[in-house]
């Protein structure tokens, strides 16, 4: 199946070379082919699956836990100023 690889790459903010576009386009096309195969099954009596593991109601109490290494998190950003992450111009 053909896939609009340019659109998918744009949504994922990925810059792909022509070669990569060809390789990934083919691979993703095969994934879609497989999904199309599954579409043929009759699922009228099957409710949509959101999770494969049968677990529910995992909740935590509303308690504040202070994180001790916020500086390490800031250090992950390429540039910071006044304890904030600095990002380039957002809209042109």
């Amino acid at each position: 199946m053909q896939i609009d690889i340019d659109h998918v790459a744009k949504l994922a903010r990925l810059g792909l070379s022509e070669e990569e576009k060809k390789v990934f386009g083919e691979q993703l096309g095969k994934v879609l082919d497989h999904a199309n195969e599954l579409q043929k099954l009759n699922t009228d009596n099957v409710s949509p699956t959101s999770h494969a593991i049968p677990m529910k109601n995992v909740l935590r109490e509303d308690k504040v836990v202070v994180c001790q290494n916020t500086e390490d998190i800031l250090a992950n950003g390429p540039e910071t100023e006044d304890n904030m992450f600095k990002v380039p111009r957002i809209v042109e």
């Binding site: 959101s50 509303d62 904030m84 600095k86």
Partner: protein, 480 residues
Amino acid sequence: MKYETIIGLEIHAQLATESKMFCGCSTKFGAEPNSNICPVCTGQPGTLPVVNKKAFELAIKTAIALNCKIEPQSIFARKNYFYPDLPKDYQVSQYELPLATGGYINVEVDGEVKKIGITRVHLEEDAGKLVHQGAAQIMGADSSLVDYNRTGTPLMEIVSEPDIRSPKEAAAYMQTMANLLQYIAVSDAKLEEGSLRCDANISLRPIGQKEFGTKSELKNMNSFKAVEKALIYEVKRHNEVVSEGGKIVQDTRFYDEKTDTTKGMRTKEFAHDYRYFPEPDLVPVEPSQEWVEEIRQSLGELPANRKARFIKDFGLTTDDAGLLVSNKAVADFFEEALKLLNNPKAIANWINGELTAYLNEHNLTITQANISPAKLVELIQAIDQGTISGKIAKTVLVKVLETGKSVKEVVAESGLTQMSDEGELVKIIRDVIKNNPKQLEQYKGGKTTVLAFFVGQTMKATKGRANPGMVNKLLKQELG
């Protein structure tokens, strides 16, 4: 052709929790930038979110108050898009299976009650805050600084049906909703402070037609007035475009309070393809019937019912009852006072009048202020017993609020007791008459309206401590 206005509102309310939606970071406002962040809310690889039980509970509470159906299973989803205030590059929200659906709220507009449908109530997480550099806003900024303190704060989205037919109804809906959220203590719900936000979808359609027209989505309305004004502007704009034979282009528009206009953002930039899919890191929540019932019990009487009861049982006016129930603590205060003194009208008047004025002026809540139901009752009783006049009582109330002393203490210390000694009052009245011979002559000449002048002078001489009824009686007697 005649058109009708179709409005639907999307509200986002910050939930009153201590910690964030999926991690233990504090939700406290005004902290140092990026001090309330952790690996989970900044989307570090390998971290796992866990749902805040209280946030879920508050949303269920709201859904019950809005007569919604609590869904037996609700699922979180990822809404994918790139923006610097969103560190994970997706927002966790609810999409196909929200927490609650199909409710309504009754809104009073021009004395009439209108039922507005609620499509859904769901939970999601807030984004971070951007500080733009090189310009006051995003347009024209060279760069931006990002503070992730707010990232992951629990938000509740409430979506209305397109049942709203005028900007005025929209403002009334917002006000009623804000009051309700505050009353049931699920959110601060302040538009001005951003703990409540509102997006509006508006379109026009020819009367009688079933299909909706093309809509505009309005953002950036930071007060109830702004909600109304932005919509008034937009109705006018749609009307103009349509009447000139033009076509409305679907877009997202920002309201500018200064110019009182809306401006469109280029549609292309907001053409999103969110690719929602179930959040694999969060398992479904299936609230048990017992849990929902427990929350329902904790909800107690809702403001609309309480208001109706105040009108029916205590003979209050719609306005008085409405003011009292606009705040739960105030309504509780009223009922506590009523237990001590069966005079609903007087208690409501004092609360809605002098007391509220003082609280607003000093930016205090009724529970923070130096006042209790017992103290207010003491004040009203002092008037009823003739110890102080109604006018003096206002001064006494302010002193009580300022000092925290009892009514009795304030009255005793400042000599504000009403004069009940006739003999003393007669002496003062005789002096007043003696000092105003001209007015006395006018009175004797038949101009009885001068009596008001003498009453005024006497009240002044007694610094308001005389009983006006007694002054009237004695004056007539002395003037002959």
